[in-house]
């Protein structure tokens, strides 16, 4: 085990390189995917079929074909057509197209989920179609789409390992090298799992942050947010206190009922005193 740690320590700079490649692929791929998703997703909600149809075809094509084959196509076929791309760009492009197509469907359905009354109010105020989308519909749809986008982006992070096939050395590749140099399969792949998990966790936290911001902009909170839970606990405590008071009143009440006119307005304060 000590040997393993020593190898890991000396391997750290290389591992860091791999992590960087994975991060670059994930971040650039995600940005690309989100841009593609927004353009295609919004286009798919157009009232004009001649805009909707091509967007739908592109989405179905990239959703329906393998990420690996898309990657090979960019890497091996484009040069045959006279365009040679850097392997990193191929990786980013394939991830962005594939996950962008999936996310476009999320964008489309979130836009469709915004209450029809919001569209109608925007029309009633004579807002132009662009303003309607940018100022009214999209900010509301954005809050709805973030959780699903988060899932897809984490899949993108994990899917980025396929770039191994086009000569790029990412985290997975480095982990494989670590396995070869330590000869300890269990150790190397466990390290790999942990690093991927940390990266995914960071990505999830970032998406949670975006979601909190988006829902706060709507004057709401995320379902079951920390603030909600805190308030629920507070309400529960207040409720117990109230019940305690009722109980103590009940007991006290029986004693005093026969007595002359207890002022009902004074009861709560006597109850409070009894609690302490």
């Amino acid at each position: 085990m000590n040997d393993n740690l020593a190898t890991l320590l000396s391997f750290l700079p290389q591992l860091w390189e791999g992590i960087q490649t994975t991060i670059i692929l994930t971040v650039a791929g995600s940005v690309g995917a989100i841009i593609i998703a927004l353009v295609l997703g919004i286009t798919m909600t157009s009232p004009h079929w001649w805009l909707r149809a091509p967007a739908r075809i592109i989405v179905e094509f990239f959703r329906g074909t393998s990420l690996l084959v898309q990657l090979f196509w960019l890497f091996y076929v484009l040069p045959l057509l006279g365009f040679e791309l850097d392997p990193l760009l191929c990786g980013i492009g394939a991830l962005a197209l594939n996950y962008g197509a999936y996310s476009a469907e999320v964008v489309r359905s979130s836009i469709k989920t915004v209450a029809p009354g919001q569209w109608e109010a925007a029309i009633a105020l004579s807002l132009s179609p662009t303003r309607r989308m940018l100022r009214v519909i999209f900010p509301q749809a954005w809050a709805l789409m973030i959780p699903s986008l988060a899932t897809l982006l984490i899949q993108l992070l994990k899917g980025s390992a396929v770039v191994f096939f086009i000569t790029l050395s990412d985290l997975t590749d480095k982990i494989n090298q670590l396995r070869q140099s330590t000869g300890d399969t269990y150790f190397a792949f466990s390290i790999g799992l942990i690093i991927y998990f940390i990266l995914a966790w960071m990505l999830q936290e970032f998406m949670n942050f975006l979601e909190r911001r988006a829902t706060a902009a709507l004057g709401r909170r995320r379902p079951n947010s920390r603030t909600d839970r805190r308030e629920a606990r507070r309400a529960a405590r207040a409720d117990t206190v109230r019940k305690d008071r009722l109980v103590s009143h009940g007991v006290a009440g029986e004693g005093t009922d026969s007595g002359l006119g207890t002022d009902p307005l004074k009861r709560p304060s006597s109850g409070e005193g009894g609690d302490r």
């Binding site: 109010a121 009633a124 807002l127 900010p139």
Partner: protein, 268 residues
């Protein structure tokens, strides 16, 4: 017989009608909701549409607001075609942009308020005046604050709509519609979604608008006392047709048709 003290509109005047329906037809798929509907509303006139559910009242308001597509006939606002016009004997749809210019004169308040949750109360009100009418932000904000004052919500300008009660939201929605200085205001069952104790505030605001402005109003409501107090004319709809119409006193006290009578007895 005029219901309110300010100058009642005179429907028989020769002035161009604020709203005119000519042979209007509306169907949703195979279901025809309105057929051969002809009526007009004079500038400044306040008209209440009543009738059983499914009689097409709300559809009429939605057609004027261009929320529904007109399947037949024409609607004119201030004498100008709204969505379709006749050209060389053919029915031609007008460009959307042109229609949108026309709808800036029309405001609508909805049953479900439909405030934009991603904007504060003030932002809700100034959005269209700034971006549709091209007013400056400071001018629009000043007017918005005056309107909020008028509907009794001056202190709520920076709140999010979700933090307001239904009645408050509806009053903001009224202020938002008025911020566009509409010539025509469409009110679609604006109190139906409210708790009973909140209805009064909203109706109070509308009464105030009716008494102090000459905005043409077309309203669908179940508040018969309110309809009686503010409207110049009541139109009873049934099966997409005007069954009978007249001043509120006549319709409410002396309806000519059995169906009007049975409808009124079911709601009063």
């Amino acid at each position: 017989m005029p219901p309110t003290e300010n100058t009642p509109a005179n429907p028989s005047a020769s002035a161009t009608p604020a709203i005119e329906f000519t042979d209007v037809e509306k169907s949703f798929g195979p279901t025809t909701v309105l057929k051969d509907l002809n009526f007009s509303v004079a500038p400044g006139e306040r008209v209440t549409l009543i009738g059983p559910s499914g009689s097409g009242k709300t559809t009429i308001l939605r057609l004027v607001m261009t929320l529904e597509e007109l399947t037949g006939g024409y609607i004119f606002v201030d004498g100008k075609p709204l969505t379709f016009e006749e050209r060389d004997g053919k029915r031609v749809e007008l460009p959307k942009k042109r229609t949108r210019e026309m709808t800036t004169r029309i405001g609508m308040v909805f049953q479900q308020f439909n405030l934009f949750p991603n904007m504060t109360v003030l932002e809700n009100i100034i959005e269209a005046p700034v971006h549709v009418l091209g007013k400056s932000k400071s001018e629009a904000s000043k007017e918005a604050k005056e309107l909020l004052e008028r509907v009794g919500l001056a202190e709520k300008a920076d709140e999010h709509p979700t933090r307001l009660s239904g009645g408050q939201q509806q009053r903001v929605a009224i202020a938002r519609a008025l911020a566009m200085s509409p010539e025509i205001l469409l009110l679609d069952e604006v109190t139906s979604a409210l708790d009973p104790e909140l209805v009064g505030d909203v109706l109070g605001v509308l009464r105030d608008i009716a008494e102090t402005t000459d905005i043409t109003m077309l309203l669908v409501t179940h508040e018969m006392q309110f309809a009686r107090d503010v409207s110049h004319r009541v139109m009873m709809f049934d099966g997409g047709q005007v069954l009978e119409q007249g001043p509120p006193d006549q319709i409410f006290n002396n309806p000519q048709h059995d169906r009007t009578r049975s409808f009124l007895s079911s709601v009063l």
